[in-house]
Amino acid sequence: MALNPFSSGTRLRDMIRAIRACKTAAEERGVVRRECAAIRASFSDNEQELRHRNMAKLMFIHMLGYPTHFGQMECLKLIAAVGYPEKRIGYLGLMLLLDERQEVLMLVTNSLKQDLNHSNQFIVGLALCALGNICSAEMARDLAPEVERLMRSRDANTKKKAALCSTRIVRKVPDLAENFMGLAASLLKEKHHGVLISAVQLCTELCKASKDALEYLRKNCIEGLVRILRDVSSSSYAPEYDVAGISDPFLHIRVLKLMRMLGQGDADCSEYMNDILAQVATKTESNKNAGNAILYECVETIMGIEATSGLRVLAINILGRFLSNRDNNIRYVALNILMRAIAVDTQAVQRHRVTILECVKDADASIRKRALELVFLLVNDTNVKPLTKELVDYLDVADPDFKEDLTAKICSIAEKFSQDKLWYLDQMFKVLSLAGKHVKDDVWHALIVVISNASELQGYSVRSLYTALQTYSEQGSLVRVAVWCIGEYGEMLVNNVGMLEAEGSITVTESDALDAVELGLSLYPADVTTRAMCLVALLKLSSRFPSMSERVKRIVSQNKENMVLELQQRSIEFGSIIQRHQSIRSSLLERMPVLDEATYLMKRASTTQASIPAYKPASAVTPGDLKFPNGLAKPAVTPLADLLDLSSDDATATTTASTTTAPSDFLQDLLGIGGTNLPTAGAPSSASTDILMDLLSIGSSPSQNGQLVPDLSLAQAEKKHVSAAPQLVSPVPEPVDLLGSLSSSTSVSGTKSATAVPQAVDLLDGLSSSTSVSGLEDACPSITAFQSATLKITFDFRKQLGKPQESTIHATFTNMSSSTYTEFIFQAAVPKFIQLRLDPASGNIVPANGKGSVTQGFSVTNNQHGQKPLAMRIRMSYKVNGEDRLEQGQVSNFPPGL
């Protein structure tokens, strides 16, 4: 390509050709770089005659996605020029290259003001257009008087532009609405369609912005609107405005929309519109898109205002016609209005149930999605069973992409109407069998809770799941639930306990049941959760079927050298339980106590409202309060179970507060608390963490010190257990952290504390990050975030794979001075793109001379992860001998990648 290296001489056309001729992206970058260099040079040489061309080139380059900020000032210069051609390209450049958030834009306010007062209507038009497209709130405030004046202009063209410009002004600065309402209403008397359309839109915006404007327009313009609509809908053929035989559908639609705003909740206004709405609804041709667009808007307006019942019937009939239309666009909008109509007239919508259900199976993803949402709203007590059956049947043939949405909806329908437990279980088993891969974790967690509560259906459940597993072993969550049930209720499977009347008996031997679990173990080599659940199930089966224990031992021992530490540990520990502790095994492996459904539902509900994360302090349960009815046996099982949940909830690592991890917390309860027979109300998570601490402290006590041991009533039992595999208890990487947390929990044991929970969870996370090879988390180095002569703060980080933007930070405060700090408060501030959530601190007293420390956990979400690094300002206030002290600083040494 023969290109002049100083190509400021190339014409726009030549540059576009050159860019289009590029075969590779690198070549294109080369051309663009050369052009940009030439344009810059030309800008700095102030070559007047090339400004126009350069700006056009720059816009093209901008459209290709290259940076063009160096052209912003040039735009301003062009706008300030005298000639129309310069101004035209300058304003276009301004609208393309800048947006309302750039400071440079403020500089243009003055030029805009001059141009708004220009005698040439086209220059005024340019200024209005630019202002309407990109003005900021400040500019809107500054220039509103000019725009207001222009709305009174004699030129129709200027009037319509000024009216639309005002819509943006009102959007940006709603307080200005009152200034415009009188003018807007008066513009409705014009004849020019452009002015009418713009004025109607301005009125609509005013109604949204201010209640006073809404009232004013209700009083002053309803008549005008009705007249406009009557004129335009009954006008004879007007070629200028004709679209497919309808005169100005755009004006129709905008007036109908404004009528909806005015008529909403106002019976008088609505009454006034009834006739004209009926006329539009009956007379509009529906064989073309334009007509249907009007009918669509008209139906929405009828549904929105206080319409008469006759009018409503008319609207519902139009909807019915829409729904049976063969045009996908029409069907889509029909489903759309039905969603809104459901609030007005549920019965009318129910009548279309069959058609809607057909739409769920449509080939078009947009239609399917709408229809599914609608079906979900339509479900009630009487139709839930047939509707669910339809959806479940469809699951078999649905698109893989769609299955996730579909299963989520089926499951929530089934849960919502789950009074009939047997029916609920059947539906869930079907869903798991057909689309178990797509089921979310909290769904199958909930299912396990229900099964554990329905004692009369446990036999049925385990048999159904076993049967399903034979055919659908590729469905991950089916395998998990089935394996859990076989582990818990294995004997019901083999002995056909609790047969239902309609159920056919099946013959399953003990070795068949074992086969099923072994299958789960072998099918999912990569899935640690499933494999871990299989191992627990096997352990449980060794006690249910004593004759099989040799085989169980063999299978379990296959994982002894597993690279995933979690599985290796289970394998070795379970092996030793089977081999050496037969005396306690049966009591150790008793069935799980019934899980508390109410608590679970409550917790789950709180996660669905995660937008308002409320931290609920768990009531303190000290280790001494725990009661273990079975003496030695029970406590021994809990650590194992706790270990299970380490891997089974991937979510634990992401968050620290107990509320946000409710389902996983629940699983903790499910598997951890079970053995402790605690009073469940409110306490469970803290209890399980206490146990965890016990476990950890045992593990670390040899390397740390003995001060914690007296606390632990279960030390002996666990020591035994630990000694079975001492090499597996690896030290936690941050001894300070561990010590800090533990000591806080011990010091707290006498008093009460709400913070024991998150810290314990932290510990849990710390452990898993250090020990499990499974790669749930990234390790980040710790930093010293702040250090002064008197105070030192260190941050430890944790991240979860797959969520790079979230980090959990654990801060440790150490007092380096010789006097104790009281009322210690740590505060942090972050830029807007980061979200910060602080958990409560472990205490507010920092002992002197670095003898102990206060810790506090918090999590940050970096919404611009990868683009901007984490940054934080911190402030610590405390009292020394009753005197206030304040220290602050900025943390900028965060490790990269946060």
Binding site: G83, D99, N133, K161, V243, F250, I253, Y296, N328, S366
Partner: protein, 161 residues
């Protein structure tokens, strides 16, 4: 309200973008990438609406070009289809049976046309004739200014000979 207008070619090349709501440069690139992925892969018989981040994108294909407009969830999708067609018809009259190449080489003119149809993401003119008249008047203003400039430079050139 129309939040933005996009013209994308069958190959995913951007031919025109107009943003009525604030998006940073990064977001714009991301939006364009996401939407091309969504829209260009859709089959021919499917409906012209795509739900995206709580908004709806109405698109329509003309030859090798996709005209897309992103609207709020409660706007009238069918009407936006008509607005797209309105825009295309005006372009067609202005360029005289418009094709993709017209829009590439005269992209700035396409923007001028769009600015006579939409302001602040709302429709300003339902008459195609009126839009054509306004554009023609402004084009002739530019031509007149150019002629004047060239005649002045001729005079200067002659005077300095």
């Amino acid at each position: 309200m129309i939040n933005f207008v996009l013209l994308i070619s069958r190959q995913g090349k951007v031919r025109l973008t107009k943003w009525y709501s604030p998006y940073t440069q990064k977001e714009r690139t991301k939006v364009i990438r996401e939407l091309s992925g969504l829209i260009l892969t859709r089959g021919p018989k499917l409906c012209n609406f795509v739900e995206w981040r709580g908004y709806k994108v109405v698109y329509r294909r003309y030859a090798s070009l996709y005209f897309c407009m992103c609207i709020d969830a409660d706007d009238n999708e069918l009407e936006v289809l008509e607005i797209i067609h309105h825009f295309v018809e005006i372009l067609d009259r202005y360029f005289g049976s418009v094709c993709e190449l017209d829009l590439i080489f005269n992209f700035h003119k396409a923007y001028y046309v769009l600015d006579e149809i939409l302001i602040a993401g709302e429709l300003q003119e339902s008459s195609k004739k009126n839009v054509a008249r306004l554009i023609a008047a402004q084009d002739s203003l530019v031509e007149a200014a150019k002629e004047e400039a060239s005649s002045i430079s001729n005079i200067i050139a002659q005077a300095t000979k």
